[in-house]
Symmetry: C2
Subunit: 151 residues, 2 copies
């Protein structure tokens, strides 16, 4: 079992909170955070398309891919924890992807095995990465019986 | 029109992202971020009760109070922007409160004019403060016609 998290941006955008989450997640499960350079083209559709190609060239056909999308499935933290465990059992590894500044291309949404939403609000991609890492850590803590999660 | 945001914790917990959000919000609307010391007692119910008393002693009867609560009303970012504008028109100032490490006491929930939720997941209070500031800034940008918010 292993987690990969792709995002569009640069490694140096990862802040101290995220580094701490990554460190703590690492005690429970190997995790790799993989930046993909944002497409430097004008037009959000073009950028999204180029970013999608770069991402999809890195994803194997067997990979269980979860794309964050505001129209995706919402879950509470306990439900996500249960699902994550199930995905590890069924698929071994789990790959997440967070969209870039212009959102996420339809090609990625179509390839994804699941679209996952934290609710109907729009978030900046950097803050969203903090949120995703916090929920992944929380899910592992719930499953592993840690005291991070309080009801 | 003025925004106040109360949280339980220390001023030095406010990180660089939040400082930047506060700075940008300030161009559109005066905002005050007010820390309330967390209750140093054992037992989460006792802590919540003490924290509630400290908070409520600072809130006037006329103040329009919005408490973040996972069981509150959810909105998307556009809806929140419209509501925020309406609250400024109807009430002048708007006060938000984010619960402490043990959540938020029933007394505060009862006093609040609105319970507001970002969705059903549980978040750490520090990350939640970043999220709240981002959504407040986004709401003001949407209303003011800035280019921060992209659909």
């Amino acid at each position: 079992m292993r987690i990969k998290l792709y995002f569009f941006g640069k490694k140096n955008e990862i802040n101290d909170f995220e580094k701490e989450m990554i460190r703590r997640i690492g005690f429970r499960c190997p995790i790799e955070i993989i930046p993909i350079a944002q497409a430097g083209v004008s037009g959000s559709d073009n950028a999204k398309k180029l970013e999608a190609e770069k991402l999809l060239s890195k994803i194997s056909d067997q990979e269980f891919l979860i794309a964050f999308d505001e129209n995706g499935k919402t879950m509470d933290s306990l439900e996500f924890s249960k699902k994550l465990k199930q995905w590890f059992i069924n698929h071994g590894d789990v790959t997440f992807v967070i969209g870039g500044a212009h959102g996420i291309d339809q090609k990625v949404l179509s390839r994804a095995n699941l679209l996952f939403s934290f609710g109907s609000m729009v978030w900046t991609r950097n803050l969203f990465r903090s949120m995703a890492l916090e929920q992944i850590y929380r899910a592992l803590e719930i499953e592993g019986g840690g005291n991070f999660h309080k009801e």
